[in-house]
């Protein structure tokens, strides 16, 4: 026994979402436990963004369930959102406001008091090493630092689940590395469950669980080692290509996680 098995904080069960005749998601299921990094790997158009919109309550699934710490998002969206931190693919900073003002806006939306908000903002910025920039206007920040501010913002209200949607798109290699490392570390230090969507295979190599999404279907699910073993490839890139390349998107390969 390595460690006691933790309860899953995010339970996704058989999600279906269509836009007209196009099925953006077709029966997607997975679970994430506290402290676990789940990489959602898929090419563009795989359904990652749709899944994100469902997870953040922006849209409602046609079928299936999303349970966050046992609560159904359909019935308790407000409670659920309080437990989730999100970094969207598209930047969502108000570029004309300072870093602090952006974070403060978020803190107030989450109902934090002034003193608590100030304290939390400083803590998160300090850990990310950008406290010096707190009073700068966001427009003056580099792309990497803007993303850090968005990450700090997503963590302000101490969520149990962190959702990162293609968070490294457009970043330089150093910033990308830093962001990935930082989030991996968060899983350990804060027991945070992370859902990290990406189309960059190298970001998934240290994940506890990789879910390969393709045309709205889960093609494969397991640890990186299991995916390698299953496909018979030597690295994750080849494994990913072999999974998405020769599939029609019909058959689901199940690699259950070793418990």
């Amino acid at each position: 026994m390595k460690s006691s098995v933790k309860e899953s904080v995010l339970n996704i069960d058989n999600l279906v979402k269509s836009y007209g005749s196009v099925k953006a998601l077709d029966g997607v299921s997975f679970q994430v436990r506290a402290g676990e990094f789940l990489a959602l790997l898929g090419p563009n158009g795989a359904g990652k963004t749709t899944l994100f919109q469902l997870l953040t309550g922006l849209f409602v699934a046609d079928e299936g369930k999303i349970l966050v710490m046992g609560q159904d998002i359909r019935h308790n969206v407000v409670n659920v959102l309080a437990k989730i931190g999100v970094v969207f693919q598209q930047p969502t900073l108000d570029l004309d406001l300072t870093v602090r003002a952006n974070l403060n806006f978020h803190a107030r939306l989450h109902g934090m008091r002034g003193s608590k908000a100030r304290q939390r903002i400083s803590e998160e910025l300090e850990r990310l090493g950008i406290l010096d920039s707190a009073d700068q206007v966001c427009r003056s920040l580099s792309g990497g630092n803007r993303r850090k501010v968005e990450l700090a913002r997503a963590l302000l209200h101490e969520p149990r689940i962190l959702l990162m949607d293609e968070a490294t798109v457009g970043l330089d290699p150093a910033s990308r590395r830093m962001l990935v490392d930082y989030v991996y570390e968060l899983c350990v230090t804060r027991d945070l469950a992370v859902v990290w969507t990406t189309h960059l295979v190298d970001e998934t190599e240290r994940a506890r669980q990789v879910v390969v999404l393709h045309k709205g279907h889960v093609l494969a699910r397991g640890t990186p080692a299991e995916l390698l073993a299953h496909t018979g490839e030597k690295n994750m890139t080849d494994a990913f290509l072999s999974l998405t390349g020769n599939s029609s998107g019909e058959s689901e390969i199940n690699i259950q996680q070793v418990k």
């Binding site: 309550g57 969502t92 403060n104 109902g111």
Partner: protein
């Protein structure tokens, strides 16, 4: 949602709008120049063309300038309501809307926060215009400043929720010019802002007259006109209040994740 949480969020949304407005000095300027032009130039040109007879709430003959002040106050509210709608569309394109809608608060409350924030700016601009009227020595009773407050607020909320509703359907910023043509101008001209209703009827433009009678903007203008003289127009009050309710409910419906934004296709069975 606790009371404290709701209040903090409301203040956050409102102060963000105010700060943004403060940064855009040009916006206040254009919000004042537009009605000022009407007041000074248009009213001067038409002073002798329109003879305004004595109609309630006026007790004597009045200058045309005095007649159009309530209409121009309405115009300030109308333009700012549309501007808020534009800001919603802009926020949606910039992704900031997503951030707002993923806050742990009921969606109707977040939209209400946006509405309150926009209305606050509307009322602020309306008072700035009233001050301008005083500078131009347009004869508006000082007590009217006080009486106008609740109706400016109500009118601002109604036109703001119309803007909110439009933001559901205006998908892109570029379409805003179309909104101007199809919403602002008809609402403004088919109203009592520039001429009393009987003028429309007298001129034989029956259908314009009928439309104007049911135009909520016209009722907002009348509500303001009466309030400036310490009187209360009950009929207009109800029309504005009901329009506010309908527009806001439809806007909330439009932003509902199950119905709005993207048309939901019915599943078979």
């Amino acid at each position: 949602m606790t009371g404290g949480h709701a209040l903090r969020a409301l203040l956050a949304v409102t102060s963000r709008e105010v700060v943004k407005f403060w940064h855009q000095k040009g916006r206040l300027l254009s919000a004042l120049v537009r009605p000022a032009l009407w007041l000074v130039v248009f009213a001067a040109g038409f002073q002798n063309v329109f003879g305004v007879s004595i109609i309630p709430p006026y007790e004597t003959y009045i200058e045309y300038q005095v007649y159009i002040v309530p209409g121009l106050l309405g115009m300030v509210l109308l333009f700012n309501g549309m501007q808020s709608s534009l800001a919603m569309v802009y926020d949606r394109e910039m992704g900031i809307m997503r951030l707002l809608l993923t806050a742990p608060l009921p969606r109707w409350f977040l939209l209400f926060g946006k509405l309150v924030a926009g209305t606050f700016l509307s009322v602020l601009q309306a008072y700035a215009f009233l001050a301008l009227c005083a500078v131009f020595k347009v004869d508006i009773p000082w007590s009217g400043w006080l009486y106008a407050f609740p109706v400016l607020l109500l009118g601002g909320l109604m036109l703001g929720s119309l803007g909110l509703l439009l933001s559901v359907y205006v998908k892109q910023l570029e379409n805003f010019a179309g909104t101007m043509n199809f919403v602002i101008f008809p609402m403004f001209f088919m109203s009592t802002a520039l001429y009393p209703l009987w003028k429309l009827q007298e001129s034989g433009a029956e259908w314009v007259y009928q439309l104007a009678r049911f135009n909520p903007f016209a009722h907002a203008v009348e509500l303001i006109r009466f309030a400036l003289y310490g009187q209360f127009n009950l009929q207009s009050f109800w029309v504005v209040l009901i329009a506010l309710g309908i527009f806001f409910l439809l806007a909330v419906r439009g932003y509902d994740p199950q119905r709005g934004f993207v048309k939901r296709v019915k599943r078979p069975g």
